[in-house]
């Protein structure tokens, strides 16, 4: 029940078996680069007037969604936030469908029914977010409840900003997760600002300390260190699978773009950007892998090639047919969710052993 504030749980507990191979580490970098490239391209499309509404991204937070989602097994389920494109990419959403989604095209994940990052591919085990935060934390509890009731060793993972922790539904979710010992992993992305409101106006305690109040561990990690996030998430997933309940992981980071593309961030002290720019998660990991003699240029080149192809595909997608606007309000058959990709080498070994 101790709340660690210095090291990831994985290291603190010393019980994790999580191991990252060199291929895993290449994959981690590739997903971070792919997230950044997709979002940079989406921002360009926004500036070209091809993205209706506003535009939201997770610049500077790539290590969090990539590191945490990388720990997930195929049958785990996700409720992914709008700063966490990396999680969608890991689970198998191709960038072209994301770009088409942003542009309101028929080929987007929701076919134009919803915009920007408001999507979840049910075929890949994701339940898409709504704008009301943190509603999906409760849906995550429900997913975890289903696993628990059926005695399945599966995990539900969700992401939310520190701003969400001020909302009553967050408290309801944490309380239910604690009372029921649900196999849920809650990733709290502390990106310093809830839109324009800084931490000191959001809560009167160190936010990770709140976990203790709900009866499960809270872990603080460097949210710009993809491996640290991964190890913490892997340990939290393992705990959940062992039936030991939920974990709150606070990943400290900085939102390097505005809340949306319309936000000039006038409320952020300039020095803060300078400090966090030096901690950029992608730069840091590139350096780390280069130091370990991993060819990062090859990874960069393959991401660049992929994003060009995907953009081309997205731009070819037609707009949705207005005649279909009234369709699908009601379901006519029961829900069917598919499984997500699980690129961590651990899952390939599991499948091999099965």
């Amino acid at each position: 029940m101790a709340t660690t504030t210095a090291k990831p749980a994985a290291i603190a507990d010393g019980v994790t078996k999580a191991v990252l191979t060199h291929d895993d580490r290449r994959a981690l970098l590739r997903y971070m680069l792919l997230m950044r490239a997709t979002e940079e391209r989406a921002l360009t499309l926004y500036r070209q007037g091809k993205v209706p509404g506003s535009y939201y991204d997770g610049r500077g937070q790539e290590a969090i969604s990539v590191g945490s989602a990388f720990a997930l097994g195929p049958r785990d389920r996700t409720c992914i936030l709008h700063r966490d494109l990396g999680a969608h990419l890991i689970r198998g959403v191709r960038p072209g469908r994301v770009l088409a989604q942003m542009m309101g095209r028929a080929g987007g994940v929701t076919g134009g029914r919803d915009g920007n990052m408001h999507f979840g591919d049910k075929e890949l085990g994701a339940v898409g977010m709504v704008s009301m935060l943190p509603d999906m934390a409760l849906v995550t509890c429900g997913l975890a409840l289903a696993f628990q009731m059926r005695k399945e060793p599966r995990v539900a993972m969700t992401w939310f900003g520190e701003g969400s922790t001020a909302n009553g539904q967050w408290h309801e979710a944490m309380n239910v997760a604690g009372v029921k010992k649900l196999p849920a992993v809650f990733i709290l992305e502390n990106n310093q600002f809830a839109y324009s409101t800084p931490n000191e106006r959001e809560f009167a305690v160190d936010v990770v300390e709140r976990a203790r109040g709900y009866g499960f561990p809270g872990v603080k990690v460097d949210g710009n260190d993809v491996e640290a996030v991964f190890y913490a998430a892997a340990e939290a997933c393992e705990r959940a699978r062992r039936g030991e309940g939920s974990t709150l992981i606070e990943a400290e980071t900085m939102r390097m773009h505005g809340h949306g593309a319309h936000d000039d961030m006038r409320y952020v002290p300039k020095e803060l950007f300078e400090v966090w720019e030096k901690r950029d998660p992608v730069d840091r990991y590139e350096k780390k892998l280069s130091d370990d003699s991993i060819d990062i240029e090859a990874i960069r080149a393959s991401v660049k090639e992929e994003i060009e192809k995907e953009t081309e595909w997205a731009l070819e997608q037609p707009m949705p047919d207005p005649a279909t606007a009234r369709e699908g309000v009601f379901a006519t058959s029961d829900p069917v969710m598919g499984d997500g990709n699980a690129p961590w080498s651990h899952w390939k070994q599991e499948a091999g052993n099965a």
Partner: protein, 322 residues
């Protein structure tokens, strides 16, 4: 066929669905050891266990939000709001998460939210409401309101088996007052189908829930007039054909509900008639509803607000004489 109360019929329907389908489970406040505030789930925890009869913390958004997650993962949750009024505390999960899920993502959410609703027992402003109109403005939700024991069971079964979120309004005043022969075993009363509660030719009263009984009693002996009573049963989908067929037959319509007046179900029914059956009318469409006030506590005040037998009689007499 055994005679059951409306409450026993709800209980029976839920029990039968839980026995037949292990994915069906219920969750709500005090529904386990206590059997629910109104005893709908009395004995359930003993038969089905605490996993499938979950006594939740006092957190309505948690009840509905957790149900959404469980539903998309293949379970069929049946939520109980202790009183319909408390749905306001779970409103967000219902109207934003559950209702829009299929339209946005093609992901069905098969779940039921039971709402013990209605007044007439000095419940006051927070234990007497009829909040159905809130949900008519939330595309993606189905809404039902049975008036008989037989429909209470059959509509609940249909709601549980439906792949959409269904708001099930069970009127508290009917719980132990209404009795009827209820078939044993599982059966469905289809969602979206109204019922002719009594055939008639001179005037139609269109009602649902507790007001169906009031309509029948008020028009039983109205100076020999032949009054048809339509029980809507489902508010979403609304059985437009049944409404219009009755209007075309009688040409005079009283729309009756216990909920408040403005933008209520009655307003929608009136608008439908005005748009689709104007030429068939032989008098103005009349609404009998609660006024736009909260439901007061003290008996004389509450009686003054909720539609009474005499209000219905008077409205019918005036319209018959038009």
């Amino acid at each position: 066929m055994p005679e059951l109360t409306y409450l026993q019929a709800i209980s029976d329907g839920l029990r039968e669905e839980m026995r037949a389908d292990e994915t069906v489970f219920c969750l709500g406040e005090d529904i386990g050891a206590f059997g629910g505030a109104f005893k709908v789930t009395d004995g359930f925890i003993e038969e089905f266990g605490a996993d499938r009869v979950w006594d939740t913390p006092l957190a309505e958004n948690a009840i509905i939000g957790a149900a959404v997650g469980a539903a998309v993962e293949g379970l069929r949750p049946v939520c109980e709001m202790q009183f319909a009024d408390f749905i306001s505390c779970g409103f967000d999960q219902l109207v934003n998460v559950a209702a829009k899920m299929h339209y946005r993502q093609g992901l069905a959410v098969p779940m039921v939210v039971r709402l013990p609703s209605g007044g007439g027992f000095s419940g006051g402003p927070f234990h007497s409401q009829n909040p159905e109109a809130w949900f008519l403005q939330s595309p993606g939700l189905k809404v039902v309101a049975p008036s008989t024991a037989q429909d209470a069971k059959g509509l609940l079964s249909a709601a549980i088996r439906d792949p959409n979120p269904v708001v099930y309004l069970e009127h508290k005043h009917l719980y132990r007052r209404v009795k009827g022969d209820v078939p044993e075993g599982r059966y469905e009363v289809p969602l979206g189908k109204a019922r002719v509660a009594r055939e008639g030719t001179d005037l139609s009263v269109i009602a649902y829930g507790a007001m169906v009984g009031v309509a029948l009693e008020a028009t039983e002996d109205l100076e020999g007039a032949s009054v048809e009573v339509i029980d809507l049963r489902s508010l979403v989908p609304l059985d437009r054909d049944a409404i219009l067929a009755s209007v075309r037959k009688t040409s005079k319509v009283v729309v009756l509900h216990e909920a408040t007046r403005s933008c209520g179900v009655g307003a929608e029914v009136c608008a439908l008639i005005a748009e689709e059956a104007f030429e068939d009318l032989d008098g103005p469409v009349v609404r009998v509803t609660a006024p736009d006030t909260p439901i007061p506590f003290s008996p004389p005040l509450e009686r003054a607000v909720l539609p009474q037998l005499d209000d219905v009689k008077e409205a019918c007499r005036e319209l018959l004489a038009y």
